[in-house]
C-alpha cells in the first residue's frame, strides 16, 4: 500500500485488524488494545519497512506477535497440532448459517486453527501471506485451514458451542 499516510492506513486496516485481534483474544477490550498497540508500533517502527507493499503483512504479523507476547506473559500456551484429533468433515448448509452463531463457533476453535481461518476469511489473505504472518510453512497453513474448517463445521453441526463470553478461559 505505497503512498498511504497514517490516517489513511488506519482507515484501511483498523477494522480487519480489530476483527483479527478479536478472533485471537476473544475479548473486545483486548482486541481494541491490540489494534491500537499495532498502530503504535507502526508509528515508531513502520518507517524501517523497506517494501511498502508489505504493509498489510507487517501489520497483521505485528498484531499476532503482540498477541502471542501477551499470552506468554499470562502463562498461556497454545496447544500443538499433534494433540488435536482429526475430524470428519460434516456438511453444513451455508444458507442456514446465523451470523452470531458462526462468529461464536469460530471463537471457540483452538487458537492454532482460529488464527489462520480468521486471516483466510477476514481479509482474504493468500495461504502464502498467512504463512508469513503466522511464521509457519505454507503446507501447515493448508492443513490448519482444512482441519479448522472441519472443526468449525462440526461445531456448527453440533450446535454445541457455547458463548465465548460465558466460557471460562483456562
Amino acid at each position: 500500500m505505497p503512498g498511504l499516510d497514517f490516517e489513511q492506513l488506519v482507515e484501511v486496516f483498523y477494522m480487519p485488524l480489530y476483527r483479527f485481534a478479536l478472533s485471537l483474544s476473544r475479548e473486545p477490550c483486548d482486541a481494541a488494545d491490540l489494534t491500537q498497540q499495532t498502530f503504535l508500533l507502526w508509528a515508531s517502527k513502520g518507517h524501517q519497512l523497506r517494501e511498502q507493499s508489505k504493509v498489510k503483512t507487517w501489520l497483521f504479523t505485528t498484531l499476532y506477535r503482540e498477541f502471542l507476547r501477551g499470552e506468554r506473559k499470562r502463562g498461556r500456551e497454545c496447544r500443538s497440532e499433534e494433540q488435536v484429533p482429526d475430524l470428519q468433515c460434516l456438511p453444513v448448509a451455508a444458507s442456514n448459517l446465523d451470523g452470531d452463531v458462526v462468529v461464536r463457533a469460530l471463537l471457540d476453535l483452538e487458537e492454532i486453527y482460529r488464527a489462520p481461518l480468521s486471516l483466510f476469511y477476514l481479509q482474504e489473505h493468500s495461504y502464502n501471506e498467512i504463512a508469513e504472518i503466522l511464521q509457519i510453512p505454507p503446507g501447515t497453513v493448508m492443513s490448519r485451514i482444512s482441519r479448522g474448517k472441519a472443526q468449525l463445521r462440526k461445531q456448527l453441526a453440533d450446535g454445541a458451542h457455547q458463548s465465548v463470553r460465558n466460557r471460562e478461559i483456562a
Binding site: 503512498g3 498511504l4 499516510d5 497514517f6 490516517e7 492506513l9 488506519v10 482507515e11 483498523y14 477494522m15 480489530y18 476483527r19 478479536l22 478472533s23 473486545p28 477490550c29 481494541a32 488494545d33 489494534t35 491500537q36 498502530f39 503504535l40 507502526w42 508509528a43 515508531s44 513502520g46 518507517h47 511498502q52 468433515c89 456438511p91 453444513v92 451455508a94 444458507s95 448459517l97 451470523g99 458462526v102 462468529v103 469460530l106 480468521s118 483466510f120 476469511y121 477476514l122 482474504e124 493468500s126 495461504y127 505454507p138 497453513v141 493448508m142 492443513s143 485451514i145 482444512s146 474448517k149 468449525l152 463445521r153
Partner: protein
Amino acid sequence: MTTEEAKRILAAYRPGDQDRVESCFAEALQKIEKDPELARWFAQEREFNRAVAAHLGSVPVPFGLKTRILANVAPRGAMKSRWPTALTAAAVAFLFFALLIGVWRGWSEHFGSLGDYEQEMMSFVKLQPPLEMQSLEMGPIKQWISERKMPLAEIPPGIAAVETMGCRILSFRGKPVTLICFCHGQTVAHLFMVDRAALPALKAGKPPVLSSQADWTIATWADQHYAYMVAVHDRPAAARKYLPHA
C-alpha cells in the same frame, strides 16, 4: 493426487477467484473437472466460505476505535509524505504565519474541541478498558497518579464520597488524561481530568455543563488548571450529585 489431498489444498482456495493463477492449486483444480464428487464438494465449500467470510466481515467494531487510535498514536515519520518538498515547506511557512496572526488559537480549539474530547473519552468508557490500578481507596490511587506525574486535581466532594474502583491513564491530542472510576451501588461514575490547555474552549469557573449521549449523562467544567468530565450511565438528575456545587 488423491481426492483427500485435493480437498486439503482446495480448502485454502480463497472465496474470490484470486487463486486461479496460483500454481499450487492447478492440479487440484484440474482434478475437479474429472471428479464430479469433488466438484460438488468444492461448490459447497465455496458457498460455505462466502457465507462465513460475510458474517465475520460484519462483526461490529467498537465506536470510536479509529478516533482513539488517531488520538493516541502520533506517527513519527512512519511513512513518506506524498507532498513534494516545496509544498511541505509552503505548509510550514503558512503554519508559522498562522501562529503569528493568532489563527492557531482557533485551529487548536477545532482540533481539541470539547465534542471530540467527550466522544473519545466516552468511547474508552464504552470499551470498558481494564484499569491500570485498582483500589477501593482514594489514597493509593492518588499516590499512583502522583508518582507518574499525571493530572490530579482536587476531587469534587460529591464524587469523592463514593467508593473508588481504580484508575487508568488515557491520552487526548498528546495530553495525558487521568481516569478515575467510582462505584455507587449499581452505578459507575467516571471522572476524567486533563490539563485545561487541552480544551481551551472550556472556560474556567463556569458551572458544569450537562449533556447526554444515549443513556449516559456527561458533565464538563474547568478550573484554572484542569478540565473535568464526569460520565455516568444514568439520568441527569442522578448525575448531579457527583458534581461540584450540587
